[in-house]
């Protein structure tokens, strides 16, 4: 229910009632999004969308932190390899 996914804002316009609306592209699927709660966002921004409402701009700098984390983890050196099967994680993720 609290599912929210990031989409790229490709258009902003007010509807006939003056509600700030936009169109967001979710990996090729374009949907109408209400932007009343994200007055700061502009075309080209990524927004987090839940039941047709943008709840937040996705902060690209914070998102890039994942890669910094990866680099830091690599600095930890040769860690013991966990005793789970190769590719388990990804076989499972693509099987569903």
């Amino acid at each position: 229910m609290c599912l929210a996914i990031p989409g790229k804002l490709i258009e902003i316009a007010s509807d006939s009632n003056g509600v700030r609306m936009g169109k967001a592209n979710f990996g090729g699927i374009v949907k109408q999004v209400c932007l009343e709660y994200t007055p700061e966002v502009e075309t080209g921004d990524y927004v987090l969308v839940h039941v047709g409402f943008a709840l937040s701009k996705v902060n690209e700098e914070e998102a890039a932190r994942t890669y910094q984390l990866l680099d830091e983890m690599k600095q930890l050196g040769e860690l013991d390899t966990p005793d789970w099967d190769n590719n388990l994680f990804f076989e499972r993720s693509t099987s569903s």
Binding site: M1, L55, E62, R65, M73, D80, R92
Partner: protein, 375 residues
């Protein structure tokens, strides 16, 4: 997709799991609050990647699952009226009431419609001025801004034939209730990332302090969840109990003020009954009096309903993290997604439905055995 795929990176997942293993010295019980997190954990087998000392128990964060039976029976009573178009999110359709579900009522001729967003109901209301359009407004804080906007716009635009049946629930009181229970085993929480996108996380700070429990606001992708686990275990092993934010790409401490303002204009906090859990003080939203023209409970004045839960179902204990789905004698037998006995088997975010979807009802030869791919 950008901002999704990079959080499913296998190399990084392995590194984080290895780091969790390295720092873990004793058993810890963590609860993920959100049903969306539960779904991802079971889908990607995250619980089985973690060292055996780390147990993940599944929290109450599935609104479909915790909507009280009384409220569902009320929804069914309203939906059956010939003057009503009853609108709902899709996952409420199969939730069993005392006798029926919305899909059965639809098959008998009730005008039940699935909408993507509550705002879609306003169009339906304008197109059907002779009907009363009712939206089943369930959800946590994440969904409250959307539901609030539907009422706000209906009021502003003078759409008088639109109302909502409100069954909103709030996360912080439910976490406090779990921690106060004598049955509680939870020592740390993966907090609800999208609830906190709206509300911020300052409300969790007094809970972390009072119960001496770390709360890490966490996202929904595998890397987010693994990092949330790592941050929680780090705190537990180090003896600290802070609120930390794993999900800063969308969550800020103060949340979305614009959304909170409208939610507070439309809703006020009330006591709320949770299915399988019972009544929790100040754990829900109801419409403010100014919007009572859009309050379906007032408009339709449904009398108290005598409800009946199946005796065998343990979904209340599953929602509190006390039991796992496979502890239930009916799991995967009398109770399946095709014939659910409890709401936790209906929603994709319900722990029982997630366990069933990813083959956890199938017997493994050895409980510690790694699962094979399930078709």
């Amino acid at each position: 997709m950008k901002f999704l795929d990079e959080y499913r990176d296998e190399t990084l997942a392995r590194k984080i799991v290895a780091e969790v293993r390295r720092i873990t010295t004793k058993p810890w019980v963590l609860m993920e609050v959100c049903g969306g997190q539960t779904h991802a954990i079971v889908k990607y087998g995250i619980d089985r990647l973690l060292p055996k000392e780390i147990e993940l128990v599944h929290g109450p964060g599935c609104p479909v699952c915790v909507t009280s039976l009384e409220m569902i029976d009320k929804a069914h009573a309203i939906a059956q009226r010939p003057d009503v178009i009853f609108c709902s999110f899709g996952d409420m359709l199969r939730v069993p009431g005392s006798t029926d579900d919305l899909l059965i009522l639809k098959s008998r001729g009730a005008d039940v419609r699935v909408v993507y967003s509550p705002i879609d109901c306003l169009k339906i209301a304008r197109a059907n001025p002779d009907k009363k359009v009712v939206f089943f407004a369930i959800g946590f804080e994440t969904t409250a801004p959307a539901n609030a906007m539907s009422v706000w716009q209906a009021s502003k635009q003078g759409i008088k034939n639109f109302s909502i049946l409100v069954s909103h629930v709030l996360v912080p009181p439910s976490i406090a209730s779990i921690l106060q229970s004598p049955l509680n085993r939870v020592q740390g929480f993966l907090g609800p990332g999208h609830v906190c996108t709206v509300m911020g996380y300052h409300e969790y700070e007094p809970i972390a302090e009072r119960f001496k429990v770390p709360i890490v606001i966490t996202g929904f992708e595998p890397i987010d969840i693994l990092e949330g686990v790592l941050m929680t275990v780090r705190q537990l092993e180090g003896g600290s109990h802070e609120v930390q934010n794993q999900y800063p790409r969308v969550v800020h401490r103060e949340g979305n003020r614009v959304a909170q303002d409208l939610v507070n204009k439309v809703f006020e906090v009330c006591d709320r009954k949770w299915r399988g859990v019972g009544s929790i003080p100040k754990s829900g939203y109801k419409l403010r009096y100014e919007f009572h023209d859009h309050d379906a409970e007032r408009i339709f004045d449904i009398k108290e309903i005598d409800t009946q839960e199946p005796e065998i179902c343990i979904s209340g204990l599953v929602l509190k993290g006390v039991k796992k789905p496979h502890d239930c004698p009916a799991f995967g037998k009398q109770c399946t997604p095709e014939h659910p006995l409890g709401a936790t088997m209906v929603s994709a975010e319900g722990a029982c439905a997630a366990y069933y979807a990813y083959g956890r009802h199938l017997k493994l030869a050895d409980p510690n055995e790694k699962p094979t791919k399930v078709a």
